[in-house]
Structures are given as C-alpha cells and as structure tokens.
C-alpha cells in the first residue's frame, strides 16, 4: 500500500517535472522582456504620454468594444438559429458559417479595400456602366467603423462555434421546457438561451477580444493607431525599447483584467453534465416569412464574410497567376504546411502534458500552470518574437563557447534554425490547443481515469490507454485550430524566419506591403483554401463527437 502511494507520487512528479520545464520555457521569453518594465522612463515616454497615449487607448477600446458587441450579436444569433431551426441548406450553413475563419483579417481588409475603392469593382461598374460617380465618403472602409466591420466578419465564428456546440449539446431540456410552457422563440432566446449560454459566449468573445488587441495587419493597413502599432512605433521607429515595453505591459495588464472579468462573469457555475441525460437539441422546421428571413440572413452573412472576398480574390488570381506561379511557389506551400504541422504537433504534446497534470493535481499549482499557457496569447506577436530571439541568442552564446572550445569558428546555430520559429509558435498558440484539450478533459471527467487507476494501471499507462482515447475528438479539434492559426500567422514568422525561408503568409505580406494587392491574391487564396479544408475537417470531427 505504502509502496503504491509512493509510486503514484513519483509518477505524478514526472508529469509535474515536464509541466514545470515546459511552463518555464514558455515563461522565459516573456520574462526577458518584462524585466525591463521597471526601467526609468525617458523623454520618448513623456512624448508618447503627452501626444499619443490617449489616442491609442481610445482607438483600441473603441475597436474592441464594438467588435465584441457585434461578434456576440452575430455569433450568438446564428448559433441559436442554426441549432434550433431548420432552413433549406441547413447542413451547409452549419459549417459554412465557420468558413470566414479561413480568411485572415488582414487579407479580408485589403480585399475589401480593393473592392470598395475608386478603381474597385463596385465603383468602376457604377461609373462605366451607369455613369454614376459616388461620394467617396460612402465607400471608405479605412477607418475605425471599417475595421470593426472587418474584425466582426472574420472573427464572429469564434463566438458561433463555441456557442453552437454548447446549445446543441447541453441546453435541449431547458429550451424544450420553455417551448412547452408556451414561450415564443424570441422570448426563449432572451430569457433562456442567453443566460444559460453566458459562459460559452464569454469564452468565444474573449478570444475575439484578444485577437483584436493583438492585431497588427488590419490596423496598420488602415492607418489606425492602436496599442500594437504603438508598440512597434516606439520600439522600432523610435528605437526605444523601454517605452515599447511600457506599452506592452499596459496592454498585458488590460488583457489580464479581461481574463479575470471573464472568470467573474462566468461565475462559479460549471455547466458540466452527467453523461446519460444529455441529448442533442432537435431543430424545428421553419415556415413562411420566418423561413425567408432566416435564410436571407444566413445568405447575406455568408456572402459578406466569405463568398464576396473569395470571388474578388479569385478574379485577382486570374489576373496575376501567370506571373506569380512558379516552381518556387510549391516551396512556399510546403514550408507553410510543414511549420504549421510541426508546430501543431508540439503544441498538442505540451498541452496534453500540462492539461493532464493540471487536472490530476488538485492543488493551486496545477491551476497556475494552466494559466501560464494563456500568457503567449495575450502578448503581441512582435514582443514574443523579440523575447524568443533574445532567449535563443543567449543559448547560442553557450553553444558558441563550446565551439570555440573545440577551435571552431563561432556561428549562430539555434537562432538561425527553424526550431526558433517553431518554439515561438508554441509560446504564442499553446492557449488555443490547451483550451481545446482542457475542455475535452472536462467533458470526460476523472471517473474513468480513477477506475483505471483502481484497476492497477499507472498514471502514464492510464493516460495512453484510457484518457487519450476518450478525448481523441478534442485533440483533433485542437490540432486543426492551431494548424490554421499558424498558417495565418504573420509577425512572428516575419521576424524569426531563417535564411531563404518564405511562407504563404510572408509572401502575401511582401506584396501587400508594396501596395501590390493583386499579386498578393495567389498566396492569399492558397492560405484560405488550406484553412477552409482544415475547417471542414474540424466540422467533421465535431459532428462525430459523441453527443
């Protein structure tokens, strides 16, 4: 007996040890940067405070609150309509409404600008076919409302996916009771659906908020000054790392505040269920005017958030593919898919280890580790990039000493290898994979693990023979989400790329930053297609999940 306890403890310890190692590795880059948070302020900081800070805060907060509001509005209403009602093409819309996630907001931004501007297809048609010249005011998208539109269109699926899967799987009895009691659909929505799915909605919208806070591509292209552009400008433009860190610190503070707020709003109530009683919500057939209304809502949303930009890009691809496509282009695709796949595998492994440790150890330490994983998601990509670079250069210094010891020429090893980039991806996107796996673990609970342990299997054996098999769906889902995220990622890849290493995203950026939007279309299109395919698989995985 005593032997058994000792054995158990030692096993937990090796999981703990691995968790500690990985968490420390993830913390290090952030720490290397944050150490400088307490440095004395200098004249640049005074200048930033006097002339710019207010603007940054106002712009960032405006963007975040409006985007948050609209993504909830659209995400929750579509989630409710899809899970409670049946309209024609129901099966298509179910996953078609996730598709906008395949379009990175920065590509969405320049595509929409391309459609709407003076030489864009709308104005040209009006001018050339109908002789109508319009006031530019109504076609201007490069401003804050425009950015809110872009973010809402391409980020609402976060709210949609999470809320929908909650509604479908966990709320049927409540909703059916409300229906039996004679509530109309609108009242059911307001009085039942909204309150019970609060946690899911908050979970989705906090992802949206983090994305908006950290976005660099859209706001830079539209010329809107926000926190993330300010960090770049202070750091790189003024060469003032201290002011940049202060801004990044302020941003992190806000983000942490939001995360705490999320926990408070979610409350203590956990909506987990005892497996036998849950059955999926049965959608009702819609008729008449209602059917037309819902259908046209779905169609216009799908058109705005996916079909229209997709078709526009297709036209540009047709315009430029003969110049852009070459044998080298295949390399781009291979590089992108390769780093995304490797990065996702690493993230899933690390997430599994930390999540398993954190759920089996009841104390606060386990919980702490699960919080650390979120850190990377709350720091702007460029700040992570420099932190990771600093860390790898420090490691390289050790390697160089070793080299000199052997009389070899000193050279950079780690910081010019692809491992640095992949490490940075792990830091940045661990939260995405971790959340998926954690929710998978939450669903199955620890009953089966405990049963297996009682039957004499070790923690590790149980993990491979029982746990992993029960959360296969969550693992696949997490993998795909991370894969798509890395495929679209820009600032990290741009700063940390090794020699002669280009990806679809960096190629897109190179053309777009040189104002050659048409040429950027081919690589954008490939990103979107690969992401869309992955999202389709994700949908299949979610469908197969045991209800």
């Amino acid at each position: 007996m005593l032997y058994l306890i000792r054995k158990m403890r030692s096993q937990l310890n090796s999981w703990a040890l691995l968790s500690v190692i990985f968490s420390t590795l993830i913390l290090l880059p952030a720490l290397l940067i944050m150490i400088q948070l307490f440095a004395e302020s200098n004249e640049n900081w005074e200048h930033i405070k006097e002339y710019m800070l207010k603007n940054y805060i106002v712009n960032s907060v405006t963007l975040v609150s409006f985007t948050g509001f609209f993504t909830v509005l659209i995400g929750v209403s579509t989630a409710w309509l899809v899970s409670a009602y049946k309209v024609p093409m129901h099966r298509f819309f179910k996953w078609g409404l996730i598709l906008p996630l395949a379009i990175p907001p920065y590509i969405g931004a320049y595509t929409y600008h391309g459609i709407l501007n003076y030489t864009g297809v709308i104005q040209t048609t009006l001018r050339n076919q109908f002789g109508i010249k319009v006031d530019q005011k109504y076609f201007d998208i490069m401003n804050i409302p425009g950015a809110v539109f872009i973010f809402t269109m391409f980020l609402y699926p976060y709210v949609y996916i999470i809320t929908r899967s909650f509604l479908e799987n966990q709320s049927s009895s409540l909703i059916e009771n409300a229906r039996l009691l004679g509530k109309g659909s609108f009242m059911t929505f307001i009085q039942v659906v909204l309150p019970v799915s609060r946690a899911a909605i908050v979970g989705g919208v906090s992802l949206v908020i983090l994305e908006v806070f950290n976005d660099y591509g859209v706001v830079k292209y539209f010329g809107i000054q926000t926190f993330s552009t300010a960090i770049f400008q202070a750091w790189f433009g003024m060469g003032d790392i201290y002011s940049a860190i202060k801004l990044a610190g302020t941003l992190m503070f806000i983000v942490v505040l939001i995360l705490i707020l999320e926990k408070v709003i979610r409350g203590r109530k956990q909506y987990s269920y005892s497996t036998s009683k849950v059955r999926p919500l049965q959608p009702k057939e819609l008729k008449g005017l209602k059917k037309v209304a819902v259908l046209s809502f779905f169609i216009s949303l799908f058109a705005l958030a996916f079909a229209i930009p997709f078709i526009q890009l297709l036209q540009w691809v047709y315009m430029t593919y003969d110049v852009i496509l070459s044998a080298a282009f295949a390399d781009l695709i291979w590089n992108s898919v390769f780093v995304a796949a490797i990065g996702s595998v690493f993230i899933i492994i690390v997430a599994l280890i930390i999540a398993n440790f954190s759920r089996l150890s009841k104390g606060w330490i386990g919980k702490l580790f699960s919080k650390i994983t979120v850190l990377g998601y709350s720091i702007p990509g460029a700040v992570i990039a420099i932190g990771v670079l600093t860390l790898f250069l420090a490691l390289d210094e050790k390697v160089i000493t070793l080299y000199e010891w052997f009389g070899l020429e000193p050279t950079l090893v780690l910081s010019l290898s692809i491992s640095m980039l992949i490490f940075a991806y792990v830091v940045r996107f661990l939260a995405v994979g971790f959340n998926s796996i954690e929710s998978g673990f939450d669903k199955v609970g620890t009953v089966f693990t405990e049963a297996s342990r009682t039957l004499g299997m070790s923690v590790t054996k149980t993990f491979f023979k029982v746990d992993i098999k029960m959360i296969k769906g969550a693992i696949a889902g997490g993998f795909i989400l991370v894969f798509v995220d890395i495929l679209k990622e820009l600032p990290l890849t741009l700063i940390l790329q090794p020699f002669n290493f280009y990806t679809l995203a960096t190629k897109t950026f190179q053309y777009a930053s040189d104002e050659r939007i048409h040429e950027a279309a081919v690589s954008s299109m490939v990103i979107i297609c690969i992401s869309a395919l992955s999202i389709f698989f994700l949908h299949r995985v979610l469908e197969k999940e045991p209800k």
């Binding site: 691995l18 501007n117 040209t124 003024m238 160089i400 050279t411």
Partner: protein, 360 residues
C-alpha cells in the same frame, strides 16, 4: 518504468536535435573558412543578405549574380526596423553580411547602432555619386526615387504648382492628399526639411499640410492618386515609382486613373525635389565580406542598374545608365542638395514634429 522512459525519451530527442543542428552547421562553417584559395571560394561561397525590399526583380538579379560568380545569395526578407533589431541582437555572432533597405534614414540608423562597417571600393565610389553614399562609406545608394507632387491635369494648371511649401497656403485648403505619418517616406521628407530649413520651418510646414489635408491620411501612395481622380482632393504627394507602377498596372482601371494625372517636380527654383534611395551596407561582423563587396559592386554596375530602372521605375544611381523611357518623359529635375545621412539623423525629430501637429 514507462513514465521514466518517456521523460528520458523527450530529453534525448531534445539533446539529439541540438547536437545534430550543431554538427550540420559546424561543417558548413568549417568548409567556408578553410577554403582560402579564392577560386575555390567562388565555387562554394555564399553571401547572406538581410533585405526589406520585396521586389521580384531583386530575386532575379541575385539569381543572375549566382550564375555569374558561383556565389550563393541567401536571404532573410523582413521589415527594415525588425531586421535592424535582429542584427543588433545577434551582435558579433551574426551571419548576415549585408543589410539592404529602401530608405536612407534606416541605413543611417543601422550605422548609428554600429551595425555596419566602412568599405573601400573604387568601383562603388566611381559608380555611385557622393551624396548618395554614406560619409564613411558604410552604406551605398543603389536606386533612387523622388517624392513628387501629382495633380489632376483638368483641375490644376501646372503654373499653380511651385514648391512643397506652397501647398501649405490657404489656396490648397482641403485639397492636399498625403498618407500617414507612420510612413517612412513622409518621415524622411520632413527630415529633409529640418536639414534644409531648420526645425521651426519644418514644423510650420507639417502644421500647414495638416491644415490643408483633404481627408484624414489613409491608405498607401497609390490611394492618394486615386483620391484625386475620385474628387477628394486636387494634389497628392507620392513616390515617383508608385506612379510608374500605376501607369503600367495589370488593372486597366488603375491605368485609367494614372493617365488623368501628371507628375510635378517641386522646388525646382529653390531647394530641389526630395529624393530617397534604396541602399546597402556591409554588416560590422560580416563573415563573407569579400563576397558581400562583390555583390554590392555587381548591383551598382551599369548592367544591373538598367534592370533596376526598367523593372521598378526607379532612377538608377549610376550616372552612365539612363532611366527608363517613362521616367525620361517626365524630364530632368533638380534634386535636394543633401547628404542623405541627414535623413536618418533627423528622423526622431521628424516623428516628434508630426505627432505634435497631430499628423495621423
């Protein structure tokens, strides 16, 4: 036992990866340092370039260079500021031999951070005019672009235009289009005014431009030109090569826009039109210095200068090479008489001035 195995396995894999990476690289390093004989080095040599120029023509030129010399060109393509940050963090261990970017201010900044080294080359000194080179020969201009005024031929008569300064007069209220102050070309423009006219005058100019803006700055240089044709303003300040690209765009609508507009070189009677360069410098800790200089000389040679000029509508720096037909049709112009290092020296002041006058 099993769990221990995993742990050891993970550690082993990590170690193995480290060692493997080390071996691979060390062999490479050894081979390039041991080949003392020049001829051999040409066969197996390489040169590593950090570049923020994203033009396809550059790739073609580098490929030609490799074909002719056998020296392989390795690239990291990023944004200028981030590449500078990376170079400076890599310090003496860096593998980057050359830094190539499209703004004199940024080149100066790299020099200021002690990231570049002086190069003595008669070829470079002969091919590149003195004012387009660093005072200490730490960087060299390779292509040139002018920041010009573009106007609607129907709405504005050429005689109404004279100088950058004139655009701040009341006559142009609500009619000037220019992009945001975050743009490096605008920062360098203001820097040049600080050099030529002093800080106060430069600030007055920036203030005047903000007062006369047709709209809040938005979009890139091409969007300013489109803004004129769309009727939002009458004149725009933009880079010459963007205008050339629009005239030759694959999109017929862009060509149509550009054809309604004309180029004007301001300040011909006074200080001259603002120019900027794409330039290159050898990094302080370059490991392949000879190859790096060879590449720089190649890029300044008449043959390559012609390719630059034709493909991208930039002005060649080499006096023996003529600009493209299109640029010639715009005529010759007087340039600002300024050593371009000063654009970098004044950059921080320029950014502050633009913030102070609320140039978005």
């Amino acid at each position: 036992m099993f769990k221990k195995n995993i742990f050891t396995a993970v550690v082993m894999v990590l170690l193995a990866a480290l060692v493997l990476a080390g071996c691979g690289k060390s062999n490479e390093g050894a081979s390039s340092s041991n080949t003392d004989a020049k001829k051999e080095e040409k066969k197996s040599g390489e040169v590593n370039l950090y570049t923020s120029r994203h033009y396809d023509v550059d790739d073609k030129i580098f490929a030609d260079f490799t074909k002719e010399t056998g020296i392989k060109v390795n690239l990291i393509k990023g944004e200028d500021d981030e590449l500078i940050e990376r170079l400076s963090r890599e310090g003496k261990a860096t593998k980057g031999d050359l830094f190539f970017t499209s703004d004199a201010g940024r080149l100066h900044w790299a020099k200021d951070k002690d990231l570049l080294q002086s190069v003595e080359s008669d070829t470079l000194n002969k091919n590149i005019p003195e004012n387009l080179r660093d005072k200490d020969n730490q960087w060299f201009g390779l292509t040139k672009r002018a920041r010009v005024i573009v106007y609607d031929k129907k709405k504005v008569d050429q005689s109404e235009l004279s100088t950058y300064e004139a655009l701040t007069e009341d006559k142009w209220k609500g009619k000037v289009l220019i992009r945001s102050s975050e743009n490096i070309y605008n920062q360098s423009l203001v820097s040049s005014f600080i050099s030529l006219n002093g800080k106060d005058e430069a600030k007055k100019w920036a203030e005047g431009i903000v007062n006369n803006m047709a709209r809040d700055p938005q979009g890139g240089d091409r969007d300013q030109a489109k803004g004129i044709v769309a009727g939002e303003g009458d004149v725009a300040i933009m880079n010459s090569y963007y205008f050339g690209q629009m005239l030759n765009s694959e999109d017929p609508e862009e060509v149509k826009v550009a054809k309604q507009l004309s180029v004007f070189f301001p300040n011909q009677e006074t200080t001259g039109t603002h120019i900027n360069i794409s330039g290159i410098g050898v990094t302080k800790h370059a490991k392949n210095k000879e190859n790096a200089i060879e590449l720089m000389e190649y890029l300044s040679s008449p043959k390559v200068q012609e390719v630059f000029a034709e493909a991208n509508y930039e002005y060649p720096v080499n006096k023996d090479v003529e600009p493209s037909e299109l640029l010639k049709s715009w005529g010759n112009f007087k340039e600002q008489d300024l050593n371009l290092s000063e654009l970098g020296e004044n950059n921080a002041d320029a950014v502050k001035i633009m913030n102070e006058v609320s140039w978005k």
